[in-house]
């Protein structure tokens, strides 16, 4: 019995000790500095775009030594299509934990969240927007149409045109585009794939007419001559090998269509303003580093566009309001 009691006591001490350690380490100064491991939640699978983004930033932050030697614990919470992880972060109670919790948050996360759940941006503290991405439409080697005007002519002649794309951002971009063109979903149809690479697969096989992709995913196929950009869904033309694609206003009497796909970071609603400011500065340091440009922006062909926590708040809120309006909510 004695042995058992001893074991129980040791176990209790082992369980409780870290709680005390945490409490005593709380920063006493007015500013905020990380005093414990940082939980960073990613709501998609390891190896995916959001995961790579998160791990690169946490790696650069550690190298730049802006987190007072603390460790990032990146956790992939994929239950419920990511909604479970987002809900957990939004509900973190005020205190030290709230100041040490980050969530990778992109436009592609916000859209399904507000569409399918009651969770809203108001339940988070925006920290930063790091980069934006935009879409293009491409034709394949065997496409019937050689440019976007030919596509519009075919639609006018009563033919159906099919675009393949991915989820979330792509659907929003497509809907905005057909709205601007004044056609319906039968005239220009959209096929949602699980990923952009699945969409590219279907155009390489000649099963669809057009494919929607961000520059990075299509890059190799453009270089190899298997895809050709025909429309930039952006307010200005792209550069490099994508420069040949006109924007919508160049094609005809339309306004340019652009749905910026942003990559950002938020914290729980209960994160303090000091902590949000600290994290915002830390992300700014990353965005200004060469490592960020070399290892992320250039490699994944994104547009670097840093917004600090105050700007990000306005930007994300505007995006949410627009999207809710388009849903009729």
């Amino acid at each position: 019995m004695k042995k058992l009691a001893l074991i129980v006591i040791v176990l209790i001490v082992a369980l409780v000790a870290p709680l005390f350690a945490q409490g005593s380490a709380e920063a006493a100064s007015t500013g905020f500095a990380p005093s414990k491991d940082i939980d960073w939640i990613v709501t998609s699978s390891p190896g995916g775009g959001s995961d790579i983004y998160t791990r690169i930033i946490s790696d650069i932050m550690t190298r730049l030594d802006v987190v007072a030697g603390q460790t990032f614990l990146v956790a992939n919470k994929t239950d419920g299509g990511g909604e479970v992880g987002r809900l957990q972060v939004s509900r973190v109670n005020a205190g030290n934990l709230a100041n040490h919790t980050l969530l990778t948050f992109n436009s592609g996360d916000l859209m399904p969240m507000v569409k399918n759940t009651a969770n809203r941006l108001a339940n988070f503290t925006p920290i930063a927007v790091m980069a934006v991405d935009k879409q293009l439409l491409y034709i394949g080697e065997y496409s019937k149409y050689k440019n976007f005007n030919a596509v519009l002519d075919a639609v006018a002649a009563g033919k159906q045109v099919v675009i393949a794309g991915s989820k979330g951002d792509d659907i929003a971009t497509y809907e905005k585009m057909i709205g601007e063109l004044g056609v319906n979903q039968n005239q220009i149809a959209f096929i949602t794939n699980d990923s952009t690479s699945a969409a590219i697969t279907s155009i390489l096989g000649g099963h669809v007419d057009l494919v929607m992709s961000k520059p990075a995913a299509a890059d190799q196929y453009v270089v190899a001559g298997k895809l050709t950009p025909v429309l930039a869904l952006s307010k200005a033309r792209f550069t490099g090998n994508l420069a040949s694609a006109p924007t919508l206003s160049e094609v005809g009497d339309y306004d340019d269509v652009e749905v910026p796909v942003w990559r950002g970071v938020v914290g729980p609603k209960n994160m303090t303003a000091e902590a949000a400011a600290f994290w915002s500065d830390a992300f700014q340091a990353v965005s200004e580093s060469n490592a960020w440009k070399d290892e992320y922006i250039n490699k994944y062909k994104l547009v670097p566009e840093f917004r600090n926590y105050m700007e990000a708040q306005v930007y994300m809120a505007e995006f949410e309001a627009d999207y809710l309006k388009s849903l009729g909510k």
Binding site: G49, K77, T201, S202, H207, Q220
Partner: protein, 504 residues
């Protein structure tokens, strides 16, 4: 022969001390990861990916390729010994592997059969990959939504071979599988279905915990009924000598393995269909061939068919990945992410721009295949000792394995809950003499079928013509009709003397 030359170049890249070392390391890790339920190749590759960033890209991909590949071997171990599939492609292996190990008391032979079949299937897949990689990838591209729909319809009818005596039960089970699979977010519009207001159900029912429950945990509940039985297999037989395959055994496994190897490789190339689908189809197809013992009672043919198919598919999946930069599976997508992080651009130019890398990887698959076979062979005598553990001790051990496996799929208790619930469901089904295989097969195929069929209808604007206008899909539709009509027409043909009555 140019490809052979390139493959030899690949081997010259491979044969450095470091690369051989990581191949062996990858193969060993893959076996372990594969044998642990729940942690499949996807999690294994994702976990090890960050470790490889300090390597040069070729060494890194060689290690991950070996891991991915040997994982297909490992999955069979726990399927055969514990009736818990180590990864999803091994579900079908359990159907014959476990009865062979416990009822027929030939655990060593069951493991060896799975290893040999994996080796044969994998070798076939690699040879095809070597000589026809890019061409194979192009064939895969020809399979658009209409073609995939027709193919999957044929695959769905193969459930008919799995249902056994009672077609009504089989139909019911298939419907149940489809219903469960349709929970969660609709793949095309992204709107929630059957989520009952729960955000967990928004993501649907995760496959791995579901399988561990239906197959593994249901087994635990069944074991509880017979908990006082001493051991499952007497200990004397558990030696390496008693585990050898006879020549007759080998003959029985060889042809199913070759057939399934070809089929698996082909399925692996198709967009969206992976090793799991290949194993299911390989097994279902085997039902229509001659088997010495009925499938499902521990037949060597059954183990061989599905193991060869999943290894063939694992090799085949590299064709679109390397030739076009298109991942055929979740694991492929992680590998692709890895390629980008190592500074390579996966895509149609990979073979041209980085031949060292592409051929080094293919060469490493050959090496991993042999290394894994040897290692797996070596550990069999130790592994089969598991069966001599008394049942009452096995119950808690298997339960822990089930819980850990289902927890690790998404690192949350949600998976564990799904595992327990589907375990109870699986037990009740088995108890009432419903087979669980049709549920699992429908669960895997239904989402693929749904999304492809709906895509096809978007392209054709709702017209059925699309399935008849495309030659590939037309062929599958004809096969489909033939399969459906044949049982009705057969008595007629026999009466007319055009066909012989089946000797039973």
């Amino acid at each position: 022969m140019e490809n052979l030359q390139l493959l030899l170049d690949g081997f010259s890249v491979l044969f450095t001390l470091q690369n051989i070392g990581v191949t062996i390391l990858g193969a060993v890790l893959g076996l372990i990861v594969g044998a642990m339920p729940g942690i499949g190749s996807l999690a294994g590759v994702a976990l090890l990916l960050p470790l490889t960033f300090k390597f040069n890209p070729t060494t890194a991909i060689i290690m991950l390729g070996a891991l991915y590949y040997s994982n297909m071997y490992g999955g069979a171990f726990s399927a055969i010994l514990l009736n818990i599939p180590g990864d999803s492609p091994a579900v079908m292996t359990a159907l014959d592997g476990y009865p062979m190990a416990t009822q027929r008391k030939r655990p060593g032979q069951a493991l060896l059969t799975s290893n040999m079949a994996s080796f044969i299937g994998g070798t076939i897949g690699m040879i095809i990959l070597t000589f026809m990689g890019p061409a194979l990838a192009d064939i895969g591209l020809k399979f658009g939504p209409a073609e995939m729909t027709a193919l999957l319809l044929v695959a769905m009818t193969s459930i008919g071979w799995l249902v056994g005596e009672n077609p009504t039960k089989g139909l019911l089970l298939t419907m149940l599988g489809i219903l469960l699979a349709s929970m969660g977010m609709d793949t095309l519009s992204g709107s929630p279905r059957y989520d009952f207001g729960s955000i967990y159900l928004l993501g649907g029912i995760p496959f791995t915990p579901f399988v561990i429950g239906v197959v593994g945990f249901a087994q635990v509940i069944k074991l509880m009924e017979e908990r006082n039985k001493k051991t499952q297999v007497s200990i004397e037989k558990l030696t390496i000598k008693g585990s050898m395959l006879t020549l007759h055994d080998f003959k029985r496994l060889f042809f199913p393995a070759v057939r399934s190897g070809f089929m698996g490789t082909f399925v692996g190339v198709l967009p969206g269909a992976g090793a799991t689908t290949a194993a299911f189809m390989g097994y279902a197809a085997q039902k229509s061939f001659k088997n010495e013992e009925p499938l499902g009672t521990g037949a060597i043919e059954g183990i061989a068919a599905c193991e060869a198919a999943n290894n063939g598919a694992a090799a085949g999946a590299f064709a679109p990945l390397l030739a076009l930069g298109i991942p055929g599976s979740g694991t492929g997508a992680v590998l692709l992410g890895g390629l980008m992080m190592w500074g390579l651009n996966p895509g149609p130019l990979l073979f041209t721009n980085s031949p060292d890398f592409a051929w080094g990887l293919i060469a490493s698959l050959f090496l991993a295949n042999i290394v894994t076979l040897v290692i797996a062979w070596g550990v069999i005598p130790f592994l089969i000792k598991i069966l001599s553990v008394p049942t009452k001790l096995m119950i808690p051990i298997i339960t822990v394995v089930c819980v850990v496996g289902s927890y690790s799929t998404s690192n949350s208790m949600y998976g564990v809950l799904i595992m327990f619930l589907s375990g109870v469901m699986g037990y009740v089904l088995t108890k009432c003499e419903y087979q669980t295989a049709p549920v699992l097969l429908a669960f895997v195929l239904a989402p693929l079928l749904e999304s492809n069929m709906r895509k096809a209808f978007i392209i054709s604007q709702g017209s059925l013509d699309i399935f008849f206008q495309k030659p590939i899909s037309l062929v599958f539709i004809i096969i489909l009709i033939a399969i459906m009509v044949f049982p009705v027409v057969r008595p007629l043909l026999i009466r007319l003397g055009l066909m012989k009555r089946k000797a039973s």
